[in-house]
Symmetry: C2
Subunit: 145 residues, 2 copies
DNA sequence: TGTATTTAAGACAATTTTGTCCCAAAACTA
DNA sequence: TAGTTTTGGGACAAAATTGTCTTAAATACA
């Protein structure tokens, strides 16, 4: 059951890593993150550019440059990231791929899937990068194989 | 939020269509299904071959041939189909893509995701092709755009 | 001013998924 | 037996995703 693209997975892991380094001030370099999380630097850079263009990150070039969250991690939720990286219709798709699936003309699994999406979105709405970052700082949780 | 590949989506829709034609006896031709559901005949054929090889369908060649469910639609559940088309580990994957994510070394969203997968699997376990086929026969639900 | 560091951006390749096509094999019909 | 229908299976193409690389632009610092 794969729900997120690799681009989104890498982006999320990287953001949580940043949130887990809470005490640090200033920018974190993409190279450091890529190395720590063992993911492709160039690939992550592209995902981060998307996040920067959509106001999740701000970036700064040159020595001691890098990226930083535009808001406190307490105010950035999974839904925000997923909306940017997967599209605004992320929680609004038919399980059977039918275009206008809805109350008008639902597919046979519409009701169940609607509820599953609602529960999922609810959790994504309240889960902040700060919460996940803390878990990682606490050691018992990991971001890398 | 895309959970199933197109191959699986097409396969599922086709199986539900077959279940919805309950009164019919004998084989249903793949060509008919593909036409009715407006999906690629060749693509569907490949998916159906997989289902045949795994005992979900039985096939018969020649005039009046086609495919048929090996068991009554009441005894075929979404989990069975998904296991064949998506793999046996379908309900066992980490949201962040980490290989051995589990109680030992969980990712920071492990607990939530575990519960979401459990709820999803529970529904897939109890939803039969018969149930979905009936909904489609009842007209209020559709399988095609 | 020149060099090193770091993100920005795009070209390009590799891989996976999706889709198309052709021919063989099986079965029926005349 | 010949011809038609239908699935089986593989080759192949197209598209999307993932991954790599190169160059440019911005910034700091000596």
């Amino acid at each position: 059951m794969r729900v997120l693209s690799k681009a989104t997975v890498y982006g999320l892991r990287a953001l949580v890593y940043m949130a887990s380094e809470r005490e640090r001030t200033g920018y974190v370099s993409i190279g450091e993150i890529a190395e720590k999380l063992n993911i492709s630097f160039h690939f992550l850079t592209k995902t981060f550019q998307t996040l920067t263009q959509h106001g999740i990150l701000e970036s700064y070039r040159g020595p001691n440059g890098g990226v930083a969250l535009t808001k406190p991690a307490e105010q950035l939720f999974l839904t925000d990231i997923v909306h940017v990286l997967e599209g605004a219709d992320f929680f609004d798709k038919c399980l059977l791929g039918l275009p206008g699936c809805g109350v008008e003309a639902p597919c046979p699994v519409h009701d169940f899937w609607k509820e599953a999406k609602r529960a999922m979105k609810e959790e994504f709405d309240i889960t902040s990068l700060a919460e996940l970052g803390e878990k990682v700082s606490d050691e018992r949780f990991r971001l890398v194989a």
